[in-house]
């Protein structure tokens, strides 16, 4: 016999303001099977939970409904409370009378009636619930980290230091990401390479880290705790086990005209190259498009010079499979290239700024390279067109950010800070130069951040103009910048020698494809979605996959690192157990009924259904059937909806339960 408790939460005033909770309780007390019905101000609080536990005990409840907020919020809380009193957690249901009711309906009478309906349905359902127990699956205690920027490095080191093996996949020839190319970093102006390169070396030497550079994640199979990852190691044409990194090859290479990716085109590199001297691994790769040996069969100089015999022009891509239990995505960002063709009409580009047309209009990462001691000019600021030292430099904020008409609507968050940094670095290099910044707002929230911006203005004399720039033209070697100072209410025209555009931060290229392989969501801009913006900031909706760094949203280094450590912490929590438990509310297929049409196999978004055969003892085929892999099924119910023979059923949401809910409304 059903002995059900109904617990109605006020949620402070959130629910009680529009739902008459007391009246509701009276009504619900009389529902079939209901043993008791109570209300409380905060059901999720400790006294609230104690109340529930007391009732479970006193009334020997064998089912309960909490009418409160969304199950996303507190289903776990209440199931735990029930479990503590010995009630199977899967006999707990929630009726969402907040998001689905009090927050959207403000007529008390109607809202109360709807809340009653929601509770009635939940009661009807819980009467048909079964006790379930979580599914246990084995766990591989190795992690994959995708992306070797500062975030990926931090995550990999934390996990490896905790004693777990890490596979780190980086698509460039070296790890380091953008930070490796920055000059000095706000808000302390410490040298970026000096703080990053020791950590890169640590990664290269760590016994627990297996590093794949110049590699991509090709495919991901399996499920939380048991992923099988295929990695494509692209042909490098250099055997890094033989190579000593002596440099004879790249010095010998006659093809030295390729724009350097690491310098964002501000410098050149040879066809065989290490992206920068402190690269990890400090071993070269051959750019197959630039090497004349590989394109035309002529040259081979590097191979002749290589004493170690490391060069192999016949090198091929290699596919490697790695088994891991958790994945951390740290693929970072790129600056929006506003000059080139855009991928869609909405991103019409910024013809008015002449990026790509005027050589001395560059973006901020290019500027970083021009002032970096390791940059193409050896840290001496010289403009690209004629190598002159620019005496007037204009920095433009929010280019492509906060632009609903043809850019990104979000704020890129860090450019205000690095613009201030750039004016300082500039002043430190060119003492008689003048830096101008056009800005809309100065966003400098963070420890010592606003002080830093004020320093740029007060001590280093940066001239800040509040307003956007409308157009840049070139006239006799000068860039004519037409802006405005809205505080003065006047247009401002500046004749500049160099213009630096703080273009929008966007997710790295190819992140959408990767996200699809991992079943991770992303927003309209391609930033990966965390599972809850406040409470689960590094988890994703794909179990066992975590995110950190700028792939999740614009971030500076401190935040990227903090988030990376958080993701590593989550992985360690996972690895602290011997096996993984999963929710038992998954699909199953009645193999006797299954018509083997395999509609479900094709429909399942998680590839969780396989084709199976039932054989008798003698090995003769009796029938074919679909079968759910409990490790993969996410309980979405798609198979239940599509199965023509009605053989698929979702545990916890059986057809019986759903019909009972519908009927309870009649």
């Amino acid at each position: 016999m059903a002995r059900i408790g109904v617990f109605i939460c006020w949620c402070g005033e959130n629910i009680s303001r529009h739902v008459d909770v007391e009246k509701l309780a009276e009504q619900c007390a009389h529902l079939p099977g209901v043993r008791c019905c109570l209300t409380y101000k905060y059901m999720c609080s400790e006294p609230g939970q104690n109340l529930i536990r007391e009732k479970i005990r006193e009334e020997r409840l064998n089912g309960m409904v909490v009418a409160s907020c969304s199950p996303h919020m507190h289903l776990k809380t209440f199931r735990k409370a029930a479990e503590a009193e010995g009630l199977n957690p899967y006999l707990v249901e929630m009726a969402n009378i907040r998001e689905h009711c009090s927050w959207v309906h403000h007529d008390v009478k109607a809202a109360t009636a709807k809340a009653a309906d929601l509770i009635r349905m939940a009661v009807a359902k819980v009467r048909r619930n079964h006790a379930l127990s979580p599914i246990r699956v084995p766990l591989t205690k190795r992690a994959l980290v995708i992306g070797g920027g500062v975030a990926g490095i931090q995550a990999a080191l934390d996990i490896a230091d905790a004693g777990h093996e890490v596979v780190l996949v980086e698509r460039e020839p070296s790890i380091g990401g953008k930070m490796a190319g920055l000059s000095e970093t706000f808000p302390t102006l410490d040298c970026s390479q000096c703080i990053l390169t020791p950590r890169m070396v640590e990664v290269g030497q760590h016994p627990n880290i297996r590093l794949y550079t110049y590699s991509d994640v090709e495919a991901v199979e399996g499920y939380v705790g048991n992923f099988s990852v295929t990695i494509r190691k692209r042909a490098r044409y250099v055997d890094i086990s033989k190579c000593t990194g002596c440099g004879a090859c790249w010095n010998a290479c006659p093809n030295k005209k390729t724009p350097s990716e690491f310098d964002f085109g501000m410098g050149k590199r040879s066809a065989i190259y290490v992206p920068f001297p402190q690269a990890v691994p400090a071993r070269p790769v051959i750019d197959a498009n630039a090497c004349t040996m590989l394109t035309k069969g002529k040259c081979g100089l590097c191979a002749k010079k290589c004493a170690a015999g490391a060069i192999n022009f016949k090198d091929q891509d290699e596919l490697i499979t790695e088994k891991v239990g958790a994945i951390v995505v740290a693929t970072g960002y790129k600056l929006w290239d506003i000059g080139k063709e855009q991928e869609n009409a909405k991103l019409a580009g910024y013809g008015e700024y002449g990026y790509g047309t005027y050589k001395d209009v560059i973006n901020s990462l290019q500027f970083e390279r021009l002032v970096s001691a390791s940059g193409p000019t050896g840290g001496e600021l010289r403009r690209p067109s004629d190598g002159a030292v620019p005496k007037t430099v204009v920095f433009i904020s929010c280019v492509g950010s906060r632009d609903n008409a043809k850019g990104m609507s979000y704020c890129s968050k860090i450019c205000c800070m690095y613009n201030a940094k750039h004016t300082m670095l500039y002043k430190h290099k060119v003492h008689d130069g003048q830096a101008h910044v056009f800005y809309m707002d100065i966003r400098a929230g963070g420890k010592n951040y606003d002080e830093f911006v004020r320093r740029a203005i007060e001590q280093d004399g940066a001239q800040y103009h509040r307003g956007r720039v409308s157009k840049i033209t070139e006239e006799n070697g000068k860039l004519i910048v037409r802006g405005v100072d809205t505080l003065a209410g006047e247009p401002v025209t500046i004749e500049a020698d160099l213009v630096v555009l703080a273009t929008a931060m966007r997710p790295a290229d190819g992140v959408e494809t990767l996200a699809q392989k991992l079943n991770v969501g992303y927003d309209e801009y391609g930033f990966l979605s965390e599972s809850h913006p406040k409470l689960r900031p590094v988890e994703t909706n794909a179990a066992g996959v975590f995110v950190c760094g700028a792939c999740q949203g614009p971030k500076d280094i401190p935040e990227s690192v903090a988030q990376a450590s958080a993701a590593a912490g989550k992985v360690q929590v996972m690895f602290s157990r011997e096996e993984i438990t999963r929710e038992p509310e998954i699909a199953s297929i009645d193999e006797r009924m299954c018509a083997a049409c395999f509609t479900c196999v094709r429909a399942c978004p998680y590839n969780a259904i396989e084709r199976a055969e039932i054989r008798d003892r003698a090995g003769r085929l009796i029938k074919r059937t679909a079968r759910v892999n409990p490790g993969l099924c996410m309980g979405c119910g798609t198979c239940v909806a599509v199965c023509p023979s009605k053989s698929a059923e979702l545990e916890g949401f059986t057809e019986q339960q759903v019909y009972a809910m519908v009927e309870s409304l009649g």
Binding site: E352, C398, R402, D403, N404, A405, K406, G407, M440, R466, G467, R468, V469, S470, K471, R482, G483, V484, D485, T486, G489, E490, P491, V492
Partner: protein, 187 residues
Amino acid sequence: MSNESTNTPKHDAIEQMARELARDCYQCGKCSAGCPVGERMDVVPNRLIRLIQLGHMAKAAAAGAIWECVSCQTCTARCPQNVDCAAIMDALREFSVLRGTASPEQNRTVIFQRAFLDNIRRYGRLNEVELIGRFKTKAFLNDLSIPMLFKDALLGPQMIRRGKFHLRGEKVRDRDVVTRIFEKCNQ
């Protein structure tokens, strides 16, 4: 600032339209930065828009700037918030003319444009000779500027020599419908 209570329903409608158009402006100033006549304006476009957002339509419409605007659409083309700034300038002019707040110098533009529309209302097409004649007389009566009256007088013979003047302008056949269109649009 002129008295808001003198507003007629028509003013209100235009003000309503202007506020609607101005709603999304976040005051970045790109409109003022790119405006070819920004340097000449007493109140630059983003500030006019701000005044509208604050409900000071009459104050904005009293600015000389709205008569400097050449309707080049640069502001609209580049606005990151898709605000049709050029249309706001139009609305301000329409509002100002309805209230008669333009100064004599600004009035030259109003007089010209009024004469232009009047010309179209009567003929359906522009009669340049008549337009110029009317504009010159009215503008003279407005500011009594003799140099202005004879300005461009030198161009006249030049144009006639080049066959650019049609002393008898064109008229459309169905002039009644044009008159009716004007009547309906003036309501």
